[in-house]
């Protein structure tokens, strides 16, 4: 039975498909981005109810002002040594990225992903967390390992999939796993780490531990179902976890509008779940540090999860397989109004009288040398596809704790094949 209705006088519906403001060839004007003054946002007590500071999800917490001073209630008041350490870590991330990007271009490995412009997100967070708080990163948080002082050679071995690779050449380059540095194994499948971080945090709480978990994903990845499952579990069990959404504006060629940014902020995702949500200037490492410290204190005092949106910009391509000039204006990275996180912290330290351009240049040189030295060291273990890989039979190890008959058989078959092929 169909119901006939006369709709001839109704306007036709239309489908809204988001469109970024600038495409290749366009002149960029980021004037519409609301950048509140540094120091303007209140800092609630960490015991306050999440529902009492919703406005923090819609504005932006900033500490470093236009004159390179740290201002307002979110200023973490760090000592100069800590500030210099963070600056060094950010500069190291950049030097490491430069070098490894080049290594990929030289055919020494298959793939690389830079975090240029986003260094403050991972370095700031890693500096504010305890070393044994478990991090569940996505692929752009190499800064956590570098801040935690992890070996560059070890990371490079992984990138080269060589015989020194702790992951035995099994993972795509940059998909690190370093349990000793409380750095969880990275997955190529987006956002799967989110519910896992919640599970780890729930376990820590159930065991009466004092360690908390933190996890990261891009703004594009917030669309995945796992993101929403994670938030649901976290709010239900008040899990001691920090959700970081790195809003770097682009998910490969898709701008943030395809993750819902036209309608609201990513920090506001927290509100529907009753989770604390806060949006920070992701290029202001002091804001990142302060927000992480605040969220960590909430987690450690059983106030539950916090979602931090880091408002930042992906300066380079998505990966070595990507060409951003195909889909976005070349003017975007330079027009980005939030500045460069490394430069901003450098200027702050200089304004404090704790740093100068000469020392900075010298540090850059020193870091470039350190990275180069490490690269040479790592390359002694081989580069991808040049024979110095893990023994063939490692391919069959670790599928299960004990290798079943069929894998043993297949391993023998492969070894016979290698022999027949003269390898």
């Amino acid at each position: 039975m169909t119901v006939e209705r006369d709709r001839s006088n109704l306007p036709p519906l239309s489908l809204h498909v988001p469109e970024p403001r600038f495409r290749p060839g366009d002149t960029v004007d980021f004037g519409e981005i609301e950048v509140p003054p540094a120091g303007a946002q209140r800092r609630p007590d960490t015991a306050d109810k999440a529902s009492s500071f919703h406005e923090l999800a819609y504005t932006m917490v900033r500490v470093l002002d236009e004159d390179h001073r740290a201002v307002g209630p979110w200023d973490p008041k760090l000592d100069p040594d800590t500030l210099r350490k963070m600056l060094r870590s950010m500069a190291l991330v950049r030097a490491f990225d430069e070098r490894m990007f080049r290594a990929q271009r030289q055919g020494k490995t298959s793939f690389y992903m830079k975090s240029t412009g986003e260094e403050a997100v991972s370095v700031g967070a890693a500096s504010a967390l305890a070393y044994d708080d478990m991090c569940f990163p996505s692929y752009r948080q190499q800064g956590i390992l570098l801040t935690r002082g992890w070996s560059l050679v070890d990371m490079m071995n992984q990138i080269y999939s060589n015989k020194g690779d702790r992951l035995q050449g099994r993972q795509l380059p940059i998909m690190y796993s370093v349990k000793d540095a409380s750095f969880f194994s990275i997955s190529g499948n987006l956002t799967t780490q989110y519910p896992q971080a919640v599970g780890w945090a729930m376990a820590s709480a159930a065991k009466g531990d004092s360690r908390i978990a933190a996890t990261w994903c891009g703004e594009g990845s917030t669309a995945e179902g796992d993101f929403h499952s994670a938030l649901t579990f976290a709010t239900v069990y008040r899990a001691p976890v920090i959700f970081n959404v790195v809003n770097n504006q682009w998910a490969i060629s898709s701008f943030s509008g395809f993750a819902g940014a036209e309608a609201t902020t990513f920090a506001a995702r927290a509100i529907g779940y009753g989770i604390a949500g806060i949006r920070v200037d992701g290029n202001d490492i002091l804001a990142v540090y302060a927000a992480t410290q605040w969220a960590a204190e909430r987690a450690r005092t059983n106030q539950g999860p916090t979602l931090i949106e880091h408002f930042t910009y992906r300066v380079e391509g998505h990966s070595t397989s990507d060409d951003p000039t195909q889909y976005r204006s070349a003017g975007e990275p330079t027009a980005w109004p939030m500045g460069d996180p490394v430069v901003r912290l450098k200027n702050h330290l200089i304004a404090l009288g704790e740093w100068d351009e000469e020392r900075h240049a010298a540090q850059d040189l020193e870091l470039a040398e350190e990275v180069k030295r490490s690269q040479k060291e790592a390359e002694k273990n081989g580069i991808l596809g040049h024979g110095m890989h893990q023994p063939f039979e490692t391919m069959f190890e670790g599928v299960f704790e004990e290798t079943p008959w069929h894998l043993k058989e297949q391993c023998q078959q492969m070894l016979d094949e290698q022999k027949a092929a003269g390898l």
């Binding site: 469109e19 690779d165 380059p173 893990q390 391919m395 069959f396 492969m414 094949e417 027949a420 092929a421």
Partner: protein, 335 residues
């Protein structure tokens, strides 16, 4: 045309013929897809027919099911087959059964395109061959082309088909038939008969295999990139007169061609890149055994990838190459 261009052309032809055809997926719009398979389509057909989606595979397929229920013909792209797992519930429990459970009231005429397979150093999450999972699901069709010509004709047929179809594209041969070992350079499709692709509409019916080489010694069943590895191995060996059958559609399967070929040659070998255990080769072996047992002169041989997760640096030792195929041939031919 290379395979990317042929796939692009298939969508172009179908979008021009049928305003219900919509193309959707991560990065498929303005950018034209990370492999450029949808390049130019948005400019030609507009944003409401070719659009980027949020990064949620279950959302992409679920939304496609709804669009199909309305009467459109969505062609969703899953950027890599490795990312189809979050969409499994919508594919398996929803799309596959829509016709059956609603007694035909609703159908899911969707064609899910996805690059699959290894050989490009894509690591664990850009290399897998999950076709066996889908052939195990009642209600889904699974199609895998091995040449640009087939890719276009099969994709057109899949888009016109009223059932949900998984269309796996062997990304390793997007730009040319890769012959199978790391010391051999990839060739291009130029000059290859399968690279001759007409501009306009034509279709290759689903469920029809192609005998790409006739022979009398042994039947080799294969599909996708492996067709080229097998063909070049046979050519190099020179001493086996193999009949090579490119299945093209795994489900529905062209059992007649398979049966006729095996009965003729008396021997059968199966080659695929996916892991071995409970893979599609197991189904093929069972079918051949059931139908051709009294014609077989030797046990059926399976040549496959190994039962490990996909290893990044050792991938050339992982998937079948000329050596593995040659060794298996020796075994089948000896008996």
């Amino acid at each position: 045309m290379n395979m990317i261009q042929a796939i692009n052309s298939a969508m172009d032809v179908m979008m021009a013929r049928d305003s219900g055809v919509v193309v959707m997926g991560e990065d498929v719009g303005y950018f034209g897809g990370v492999f450029r398979a949808t390049a130019g389509l948005q400019a030609k057909y507009g944003k409401t027919r070719v659009f980027d989606t949020p990064i949620t595979e279950c959302g992409i397929i679920g939304v496609a099911v709804g669009m199909g229920a309305y009467g459109l013909r969505p062609v969703p792209e899953i950027q890599f087959a490795d990312y189809i797992y979050p969409a499994l519930d919508q594919l398996v429990s929803e799309a596959a059964r829509m016709r059956y459970r609603s007694a035909g009231e609703f159908i899911a005429p969707i064609t899910v395109r996805s690059p699959f397979g290894g050989g490009i150093f894509g690591g664990q999450t850009h290399s897998q061959s999950p076709e066996g999972i889908f052939t195990h699901v009642s209600g889904l069709k699974t199609v895998i082309p091995s040449t640009p010509y087939d890719a276009k004709g099969l994709l057109i047929a899949a888009i016109e088909d009223n059932d949900p179809t998984i269309f796996f594209e062997p990304k390793r041969i997007y730009n040319g038939p890769f012959h199978g070992h790391y010391d051999r350079p990839a060739s291009t499709w130029a000059g290859h008969p399968g690279g001759e692709v007409p501009e306009g509409y034509y279709r290759i019916p689903l469920g029809k295999a192609a005998v790409v080489r006739e022979g009398s010694d042994v039947t080799i069943l294969c599909y996708g990139a492996m067709v080229h590895v097998v063909a070049s191995t046979i050519e190099e060996l020179g001493n086996v007169d193999a009949e090579i059958v490119d299945l093209r559609t795994l489900l529905p399967l062209d059992i007649e061609t398979i049966e006729a070929s095996v009965k003729k040659t008396g021997r059968c070998m199966i080659v695929h890149e996916a892991t071995r255990t409970a893979g599609f080769g197991a189904e093929l072996a069972a079918l051949v055994q059931e139908r051709c047992f009294y014609h077989l002169e030797a046990p059926i041989e399976r040549v496959t990838g190994f039962d490990t997760p996909y290893p990044h640096s050792l991938e050339w030792a992982y998937f079948p190459g000329p050596v593995r195929i040659g060794e298996a041939l020796k075994k089948v031919m000896k008996v």
